[in-house]
């Protein structure tokens, strides 16, 4: 009944045999040992589990691990390179775009996706782009500021 999957996460190849019902988020957290993406609802409504699959931000609680066979995944752990934070991470830090930090990995991945698609988003576009991610702490204003700051850093 189990199936074998081969995929690349943050540039590292992984091969495992998994149950078909195993959710991608559980695979990432429990088998691949990447606990950066979080589980906030298991129903795709909060976005804490957001990761990038083949360049697209997806909610990994509503994808099975077997569906990720052959894909390239980037999680929050894979954003910084050579000890240097990604511009979105840096902007979240500078702008106080997080408090408890639980939604943050998903929020940063969603923000990166907004900027990947549109390097100069308006405030409305940023807010619309983040509507799938819930933050209970910040009231979103500093997150919006962070995405704006990251966009500006991207232009520099």
């Amino acid at each position: 009944m189990s199936q074998s999957i081969n995929l690349t996460i943050n540039g590292v190849p992984y091969s495992h045999t998994v149950e078909p019902r195993l959710l991608l988020i559980h695979y990432l957290r429990e088998i691949a040992g990447l606990t950066g993406p979080h589980i906030g609802c298991e129903t795709s409504l909060c976005g804490a589990c957001t990761v990038e699959v083949n360049g697209k931000a997806i909610k990994s609680c509503t994808m099975f691990a077997v569906q990720a066979d052959g894909t390239k995944i980037v999680t929050i752990e894979g954003l910084a390179s050579d000890g240097k934070l990604h511009k979105v991470q840096e902007a979240f830090w500078n702008e106080h775009g997080l408090q408890c930090g639980f939604c943050t990995p998903g929020m940063i991945m969603a923000s990166k996706q907004i900027l990947d698609r549109n390097p100069e988003p308006t405030e409305e576009e940023i807010r619309k782009g983040l509507e799938g991610n819930i933050c209970r702490c910040t009231g979103y204003q500093h997150i919006v500021n962070a995405v704006k700051a990251a966009a500006k850093a991207g232009r520099a």
Binding site: G36, C46, A48, I76, C100, G101, F102, I126
Partner: protein
Amino acid sequence: MATTTKTKTETLVGKRIRRREDPRLITGTATYVDDIKMPGMVYATVLRSPHAAANIRSIDISKALATKGVIAAFTGKDTENAGMVPCGAALPGLRVPPHHLLAMDRVYFVGHPVAVVVAADRYIARDAAEAIEVDYDVRPAVADPEKALEPGAPAVHPQWPDNTAFTFHQEGGEVDKAFAEADVIVKQRITSQRLVPNAMETRGVVADFRPAERFLTLYTSTQAPHLVRSLVAQILSLEENRLRVVAPEVGGGFGSKIDTYAEEILMSWVAMRVHKPIKWIESRRENFTCTIHGRGHADFYEIAAKRDGEITGIKLKIIQDLGSFLSLLTPAIPTLSVLMMPGLYKTKNIRADIVGAFTNCVATDAYRGAGRPEATHGIERMVDMVASELKMDPAEIRLKNFPEPSEFPFPTATGLVYDSGDYAAPLRKAMELADYTKLRREQKEARDQGKLMGIGLCTYGEICAMGPSPATPAGGWESAQVKIEPSGKITIMTGISPHGQGEETTFAQITADEMGVDIDDVLVFHGDTSLVQYGIGTFGSRSTAVGGTAVYFALQNLKTKIKQFGAMLLESEDVEFAGGQCIDHKTGKTVSLKEIAFAAYRALKLPPGAEPGLVATSFWEPPNFTFPFGAHLVVTEVDRDTGAISIRRYIAVDDCGKILNPLLVDGQVHGGVAQGLGQALWEQAVYDDNGQLVTGEFMDYVMPRAHMMPWIETASTVTPTPVNPLGVKGVGEAGTIGASPAVVNSVVDALAPLGVRHIDMPMTPEKIWRLVSGRAA
């Protein structure tokens, strides 16, 4: 020893400094409970009641036990003598229902724990829980607190058919006289609906019991780890020094993680039997149904006033929806509403009554603001109604009833002493920022064109820095320990347990300034009872005002010893400690803190009467609460066709005393406002008549999202508190308290031309559309 060193003069308190906790959080390397993995760890799932009220005829766990990978399963029979879930609040005559870890022969709310299954992984545990067969005899339930108090309502607890857990009365001044002599009396029923706190991280526990050491380590997502340790140890008859509680990274709490919950006790109990580390992580559905809710008030107000706008008396009857069991602070929450009922106004004549009603719902307890938002919402709505009755401007009536700054400390009708205040200042500032006069002109023009534009004010006060110990159930002091290591690096151990508030940064700011060192030389630890001396925790906007003050005093205590060593090293009688060094002003010779630290641990020579080492502790007891205040001003427009409310401007002027880090204060205000707006516009825990939670997922329970939030313009006035030497009051709950009345007042103002004088929350588009179009619900 240098004779000249540059003295550190730059101070950090008051600066916008980015947080020191963030690097681990933005890289996904922080450790929340569910990130903990241990060798041999097993997973628990709790089977919960699908019914709000039922007798349990039988439970059959045999199929669960036969499932491959299942290690154990327990029911209420097994845990009958394992102790009760604690209620820590005491009121005269309070009826506290026995709250077993697992249901015995009856269930009382949807989500009531019935059995626990332990298995090799979480999938197997869930499968096995589904294989448990429970035979329920479903009984009538009651989910509405007002209906619960009607004669003949189903009894939540059969031993108390009136569904009344307690009544509470408080009176001050001459209420009857005030009402007899009033020019105007305004009455209104105002509700503050049940809300779901919804921290983004659900609750979770890892319990690890080592029988050979008779030692339990409990990792739990909590706001008060020492309290959990004391309670779990007591309940399970485990010696308190054989229990270590760790609050690892905690993903939000908002009050819902102050309580010691059934699962924290239950998983510890199971771990002590199974002898394997056990992980239990709450699902979001469980979080909705089993973690405490907030608010749940039906308030009946009467307010007496003179023709000139002077408020002369307030009567309030609160019906508090308690739920079925009393959680840690459940019955105490509405008493905070009573304390706060006069708001910022001078009247000394009050009468308050609370009826605590049992319902077949999960318990209510502290949710951001905890009793103060309800009271503020009520008084701020009532003041607007009085103003409207008297044809006064809502700003004018408020200004008329504030105590003057010279009247502080101001004793209130409910027995509090407001510490310091200039209540008109934030209101005037908000009006200035909004250009209030122009705004009212614009509103008149808009109304002439048939537009529904509203301007809403709220001037709020709150009770923070909880609190003096006599006013709290379990001590209201806070602790701090400062350790200067032999290398001169500084470690702070704080008894608070932050989970987003940022005290790893603000306490380092305080320390860097007091010790004259670089902030990078300071590290703040919290949340581990084996590392940190006993503490109280994070709630009630207390962390900085009480916990920060403890840090301040521990630092002062340590300075005495630093100066002793400095004097010894400089061979001087009189040294000053400033800028990270001791200086003898006569000779100009200095010795750095680093050199002093080394000498204190090397201990080749000691000052007379001094011990080696540089460690100091403070357990600081605050002499009073602090009372922050502020004014929020909201401009709204209502769409006649759809009932949609748009917020054109949101101005928040908060006075939280002295500000340590404006960036963090802004963040607290924004987040607080979002939760207050959530209550005003969208959020509601809806139970149907059978006690089913209808809004039990993010699909149905409307959380504020980025595209729904307005831009919040923040500003501040600064009135330091005399209660602590830092002058700080607290800001964690301010936004939530100020927001809901400001928004509702604004929308009522928008609909005033249609004769609307009150709207209960949440102000959904349907509700507004019905009011605008004259269609009854």
